[in-house]
Symmetry: C2
């Protein structure tokens, strides 16, 4: 699919992504880690997400013509939630269009300037006086005299004498800082001045999707982002089935560890290739994922997470040698794995709390990270509570008959306006249905009573008499049960019809019910009513693209929360990984947040089953 990708450069950061033609600019920006604010929920109404397309702009949409002045459109201004990318483009994202949480984070980290002053790696070019009769200090002492106290790994010491002499004692000292050591660790002495080439990678280790960002530690800038499916899905599409694989298969842990490490390693190669940098110039890696994913990457047996009371091996953040995980970057690079809150609530949730500055919110606030594992964090009365809920991969398109990820060919939006309309990513014939389209479709079918609150797709004879003919004509059958035709075979890329089945609705109910039940329990524990929530922050790569009204319509989010309080945060796991990749203080803060947040084990809550059963029922049409 590489041939359909276009290069998009974002200003002023200079970040570059390759994205599919037809991708919404908002989405492309998100994949570059730039989270554009969209108070109106991406409906093209508020104009908050305005960006200036400096080169490669597409014609304006009707919504843009309404919201922006003609001279603005002429000058290249567009709405990130509306305009699509049809060719190579350069886009200026003004500070005012960014989600304010990002700038807030920067100020929340003590003493933190936009460029972190305490990255885990720093370099210093030195010209050392060569040894002489009058100065016969040891090689390492000579280095210490130039750059201050340090310790060296054995492997570095073994090559240091030769390195220093080959480089005539001129070169770049590469130091890794760590909060656990009393002084920096010498990881290399590179000939010449390589100060400008100091890179790190931040990785969102999702159950279903992996996203990796290449960072420049000198500028704190993001240079490139890549993503791919987590290849562990072939061993099971949720974490429990992977834990089962480890428990039941000899060598299963090793298999899963190598599978994920190989995928990440390939992504690192892709990032390095795109920016034309050697892998060896990447000195630090940061991983943010749920507890199971983090343990699987580290090769730590997750079996105890597979049985009551779901105990992780370790809660604090880990610093591990990258080479021991099978990752090929600088040979002495370390990996930082974010701390875990408890049970399945892992580093991705800590990332979410950090990236959204949830802990500093005014009034009760909720963070919902929608993924295969859903995580929910509630701030109330200064206390943070977090829970994990097994939503399953339905929102990421798995276990849905014609489900797919939100990439080219995915029906990502479904509206009913006299008749059913679909929006396909890339403006191509549809291939399948992604999570946001699935929610849209269910919401519309509920609205038009083609779907009952219990989740039954009505058969032709059960349909309400006033149903729009276009909808009524689409009610069909699949495996002897009612189904709904989204796109006939003549319109699809595959030549097969795209259908929503009764089983698909059931999967959606399970996913929705799991997350909503978690929200209910946390609110109940804190004694907070949904209407009291000042902010509901939606995270997750996919969460960014759901429509709030439809999420409320199917009961995923409480309907008592006014639209404007629901804010999209993009991939908060990646955002948190990025923050902690850039700053030691951010790592300390992550450790503190993880310890400060109470882990709520939903499965042991006496009300959980009731709450789940209730949440499985879609709200009635007149709710």
């Amino acid at each position: 699919m590489r041939e359909a990708e276009v290069r998009i450069e974002f200003q002023p950061s200079g970040q570059t992504v390759f994205t599919l033609q037809g991708t919404r600019l908002l989405e492309a920006a998100a994949s570059a880690g730039i989270v554009v604010d969209q108070p109106c929920g991406g409906e093209g109404l508020c104009g908050k997400c305005r960006v200036k397309v400096l080169a490669g702009a597409c014609p304006p949409t009707p919504a843009e013509c309404q919201t922006l002045a003609p001279e603005e459109i002429e000058a290249g201004w567009r709405l990130a939630c509306q305009t699509c990318l049809c060719q190579e483009a350069t886009v200026l994202v003004p500070e005012t269009s960014l989600l304010d949480a990002r700038s807030k984070i920067l100020t929340d980290l003590p003493d933190r300037s936009p460029v972190a002053d305490d990255p885990p790696i720093h370099k210093r070019y030195v010209e050392l006086p060569p040894p002489s009769r009058d100065d016969d200090a040891a090689d390492l002492t000579r280095l210490k005299n130039a750059v201050g106290p340090l310790r060296a790994d054995l492997e570095v010491l073994r090559v240091l004498p030769r390195r220093l002499r080959l480089a005539s004692f001129r070169g770049t000292v590469v130091l890794a800082d760590s909060t656990e050591m009393d002084c920096p660790r010498l990881i290399d002495f590179e000939p010449g001045n390589t100060e400008a080439e100091t890179f790190a990678v931040a990785v969102d280790l999702g159950t279903t999707t992996l996203v990796a960002a290449l960072l420049d530690l000198n500028t704190a800038g993001e240079l490139a982002v890549v993503s791919r499916l987590n290849p562990q899905t072939r061993f099971g599409d949720d974490v429990l089935s992977r834990i089962l694989h480890v428990r039941q298969t000899p060598g299963g842990l090793r298999q899963l560890q190598q599978t994920i490490a190989t995928a990440v390693d390939e992504m690192i190669g892709e990032l390095a290739h795109r920016q034309q940098i050697p892998r060896e110039r990447i000195y630090d890696l940061t991983f943010s994922g749920n507890t199971t994913m983090q343990q699987l990457l580290s090769g730590i047996d997750p079996s105890s997470l597979g049985e009551v009371p779901f105990v992780p091996a370790v809660a604090s953040g880990l610093v591990l040698p990258a080479a021991e995980l099978g990752l090929h970057v600088h040979p002495h690079a370390h990996v930082y794995v974010l701390p875990v809150i408890g049970g399945f609530v892992g580093g991705d949730t800590v990332s979410g709390i950090m990236a959204t500055a949830l802990a500093e919110a005014d009034g009760p606030s909720l963070l919902v990270d929608i993924g295969t594992n859903g995580e929910i964090v509630l701030l109330a009365d200064g206390k943070l509570r977090a829970a994990s809920t097994a939503a399953g991969p339905a929102f990421e398109g798995a276990r849905i008959s014609h489900g797919m990820r939100g990439s080219t060919g995915a029906i990502e939006k479904v509206t009913v306006d006299g008749r059913l309309r679909i929006n396909v990513i890339g403006d191509v014939p549809p291939v399948g249905l992604c999570g946001s389209g699935l929610i849209d479709l269910a919401a519309e079918l509920l609205r038009h009573r083609a779907l009952t609150p219990q989740g039954h797709l009505n058969s032709p004879e059960q349909l309400p008499g006033d149903l729009l003919p276009d909808l009524a004509g689409r009610v069909t059958e699949h495996d002897g049960k009612p189904a709904f035709l989204l796109a006939p075979e003549t319109e699809t890329a595959t030549g097969k019809p795209i259908v929503l089945t009764q089983q698909d609705v059931r999967e959606l109910q399970l996913a929705t019910g799991a997350i909503r039940a978690g929200i209910t329990i946390l609110l109940r524990r804190a004694g907070v009513e949904p209407a009291e929530l000042q902010t509901v922050l939606i995270g997750g790569g996919f969460g960014n693209f759901i429509r709030r009204s439809n999420a409320q319509r199917i009961g995923l989010l409480p309907s008592a929360v006014p639209h404007h309080r629901i804010r999209y945060q993009g991939n908060t796991s990646l955002a948190g990984a990025r923050l902690t990749a850039l700053s030691q203080k951010a790592r300390s803060m992550a450790e503190q947040l993880a310890r400060r947040t109470e882990h709520v084990d939903l499965s042991s809550d006496p009300y959980f089953h009731t709450a789940f059963a209730d949440a499985m029922i879609f709200p009635a049409a007149d709710d």
Copy 2:
């Protein structure tokens, strides 16, 4: 030769060594790390070295009968410098017979009780509450709650969940402390209570000889000692020839590292076998050697030590994974390599300063460690200066025509009393000549003018007229040059005569000259006259057995120093390794001493060549 060894147990410590039949008790005790005081220089006169042989005593020698009362002899009292071991024995060494530096050391280490309270490894048996719904803390958190803050290596984390559960959460936490980390490192969780089994090994890494001691970290006691020739000698018998091997041979460094590591590993196996403990119960190793030996063990390229200005790779002490060096003890054990003072003056000298408490001596004091590399340290006006000098292996019996180490069959003592008499270790026909015998012989030949101050062995016609007939009759020829017959072929074990050649005298002159020149330069730098020296401490496995008067006669030690100020200290490198193996404070002290001691590069001293040339000349007979 194992069949000729007898088992000797020392009380009250319970230490056991296996030693050759006929070994002097003093030497056997030294090889167990017990340094018996001998103010008279081992001449059987002062009675300071008295020990009580509880079982297995040999008949008393004439010297013992003179010094000890008959009832004392009856009760088993003997002089350690006189009595030999002819059978399995149990020996009580009273506190009063021990070299006082040892007890002094113990008090010099701040807060140090006889059992160090800060060993690098400590264990704690715990019975953890198993996880429950109400207590779902992570495994590592559960451990931390029981034993305090800690960090865990990845390899330990990988097995911890399973280990904890197999042991039903009851077992022994093994923690390694390190001054460089903010909290201990978890290296294992062992099922059951293994607190009593906490062992370490201290190693003296000599150029020619390796000595290893097994230590009990709970009692600070030494359980067993083994020694062997350094097998690296086949690549060269001094450090410079080994450095040359590294520089000239592809893979040479690896070859030398593996050779030494294999030997040490075998010695560890021998120690473990003798005490019937599993290797995995050894958790820490300490190495004390000269700079080159320490770098070769660590696999750090020593090439820069082979060229002016002789620069080590690293001066501070190293903490390295034992497994990375190829040593098979506990899989997560670390190795501590002592810090280096500078150039060739390595951890063995730091050990010597520590073990002799040199830094606290009253008045100007000298420490001379006699080995293949001779090290000299001078304390004067509170300042420590240290130098290394390439004595070569002559004192250890190498490069001498019939030279050998001080083991069974070695002529270890030569006296002239009307006629020439020899003393052979093990009371067997002689095989060769060891270092102390070589010094004795040269001293006697000088005294009787069979050897000139310039080092020429006189030919029969050059001999003084009044020479004892027994000596005159032994003057012979070897390769066309004068030589001296020590034992005729009819009396030796090999059936070949044992002869001192002109070349042997030359080697002795080089060795003596190198050490004496070093002493001269250090005294000159400090402005100290030899007569002002309050103490001259002699270290080195071999140094313990030389006769002071003869060492002065050949000019190895300044004759201006009264005999009673020359004190034997035994193997100070091993003693220092033992101290630092038992205590973290001792490690900190070693680092401070290494930094505090000035390294004097003899080869760049303008007076060195003159001093060396002067020291090559033996003192005149009437000196």
